[in-house]
Each structure stands twice: as C-alpha cells, then as structure tokens.
C-alpha cells in the first residue's frame, strides 16, 4: 500500500463527485467555469487533470454536452448531467454524507 497512490485515488474519487456537484448546481457548465470553482476550493491544482475526468464521465453516460460558439476564442462544450449522472450523483451524495459522518466520528 502506497500513500501517494491511495491519496491520489481518494482525491480523484472526490474530484469526480465535486465535478458532478458543480454541474448539478449550475445545471450547465463549461470546463473553464468548473476549473475556476475547483481552483477556488483548492481541490485542483493542475488544470489538465480535469479533462480526462470529464471525458471519462461522459463516456460512462454520466454527462452529456452541447457545443456553443464563443464570441472570443474556440467553441465551448457545455456539460450537463444525464439521468444516469443525476442518479449517480445522488447516490454518491448519500455515500459521502454517511462516510464523512463516520470518518469524523472515528477520527475526532
């Protein structure tokens, strides 16, 4: 068991949860918005890590997107949750509530 590895898996799992959370709250979000919020919360340091996660969530039918032209710069992908994604997010939310309560109780 390697700490580096365990910590990075934990961070990755939570990151996916938070990405779904941001998109759920905003209804629709494009990557740079998501980046902004994750960076403000200190959850993400390197921007590049967001894109593989988004693509994977999309391929797992959790997310869908539509293109929108941008007045400046390249076109933007606006992501929203699919039905599956919404269900998955709620399940994760429950799990997180249980887990964080348990962990806080045991480690406080």
């Amino acid at each position: 068991m390697n700490l580096e590895n365990a910590a990075s898996q934990m961070r990755k799992g939570l990151l996916e949860f938070c990405i779904l959370g941001i998109i759920n709250r905003e209804k629709e979000a494009y990557p740079s918005d998501i980046l902004e919020q994750l960076k403000q919360a200190n959850l993400l340091v390197l921007e590049g890590t967001l894109y593989p996660l988004l693509t994977r969530l999309k391929n797992a039918d959790m997310l869908t997107y539509r293109w929108e032209e941008s007045p400046s710069g390249p076109p933007r992908k606006y992501f929203s949750l699919t039905k599956n994604g919404l269900k998955f997010y709620h399940k994760l939310h429950e799990t997180w509530a249980e887990l964080s309560a348990a962990v806080n109780h045991l480690t406080s």
Partner: protein
C-alpha cells in the same frame, strides 16, 4: 488564428506529443487532447486580448505550468481498477524514446559504457572490451571516452533512470538532440569530470 513564435510553437508541439504518448491507451484520447487544445487556445486568447502581439516561449511555459505535465495529468487521473498505475517514484516508461544516460549504478569510471550498453540493449562488458581495444589500439579511445563523458548526462532522477532502460530503441535524431542540449552545460560537467578523474587517479595511487 493565433500568432506564435517559432520556438514557442516547437515547445507546444512537444507538449502535445507527450500528451499523445501518455494517453495512448485511453479510450477518449482524441477528445481529451482536443479539450486541452481548446483550453490552451482560450488562455492564449486571453493573453492576446491583454495586448500581447505574439505568443512567446514564456507564455507557453506558463500555460504548460497551469495545465501540468502530461505525466502528472495521466497519473493523477488513471483508472483505479487499472493495477498498472505507475507509482510516482518508480516510473515505468512503455512508450516514447529510450534516452542515453550514463548509468550511476553500474560504472567503472563515468558510467559511459554501461549507459551505452543500456541504450543499445547489449552487455556492458562488450562495450567495455571495445572501449579498451580503442584505448590501447587506435589511440582515439581515451579522447572518445572523455567526450562521451562530457556529452552524455548522468541519470540522476528515477524518471531519467526509467528512460535509460525503458522506451523504444534509439535513433540518430535523439543522439544529436542530446548532444546539443548537453553542450549547453558542458562547462559544469567538465568540472565534475575533472574532479571525478582526480578522485579516480588518487584512489589508484
């Protein structure tokens, strides 16, 4: 269209190549790389709006810093069910080019011969024998060795060590590129070398 300086463009191209390499086993590879491309275009756009006329190396460096090195991106997001996730301190290189380094773990003098042996996948003893023949016979052996010692970098980090033994076989392009890069801090290594030589000969006495 984004105006970009030649060397900045080359750096960026290398960055995309390393992304391609690191995501080569990923199903959504093209999409991920396109997303990153768009993000970079967006960041450059912001830069240009701020009054820059042309994207230079410094801009590219900053953007690469913001996004993170390809290796970190792919390692940080690797699939948890995939047991071949490379641990950070023991990187295993499967794609890409093997690199020529002097081998610090198997050396008689400067690690040149075993470094070359690694590069070509042959036994270091053979390279050493050839080198000894060149030392004694042709008269150019010593000079060749010293030049190799100066020019070939020592593998210092775990990643360099991984590149020394992993990756695909070499080609002539890599060699010339390495030589060019290494000539730049030739002076420093020259000093290292004379120190090591001194140590070596004082040990012999």
């Amino acid at each position: 269209m984004i105006p970009i300086e030649e060397d900045a463009y080359l750096t960026l191209r290398d960055y995309f190549r390393s992304l391609e390499r690191h995501f080569s086993n990923e199903q959504g590879k093209d999409e991920i790389i396109q997303d990153i491309e768009y993000r970079i275009a967006e960041l450059f756009g912001i830069r240009l709006q701020a009054g820059t006329t042309c994207i230079d190396s410094e801009d590219v460096r900053k953007v690469m810093e913001t996004l993170g090195p390809a290796y970190t991106i792919s390692a940080a997001t690797a699939d948890p069910v995939n047991p071949t996730l490379p641990a950070r301190y023991e990187p295993r290189i499967t794609g890409g080019q093997r690199r020529l380094y002097r081998n610090p773990h198997d050396k008689m003098l400067g690690g040149v011969c075993s470094g070359i042996a690694n590069y070509f996948d042959i036994d270091p003893v053979i390279v050493r024998l050839i080198m000894v023949v060149l030392f004694l016979g042709a008269g150019i052996g010593l000079l060749a060795y010293i030049i190799a010692w100066i020019v070939i970098p020592l593998a210092r980090t775990p990643e360099e060590l991984a590149y020394m033994t992993g990756g695909e076989p070499m080609n002539i392009h890599t060699i010339t590129k390495n030589v060019g890069e290494e000539l730049q801090d030739l002076k420093k290594r020259g000093e290292d070398m004379s120190r090591e030589l001194r140590d070596f000969f004082s040990k012999k006495k």
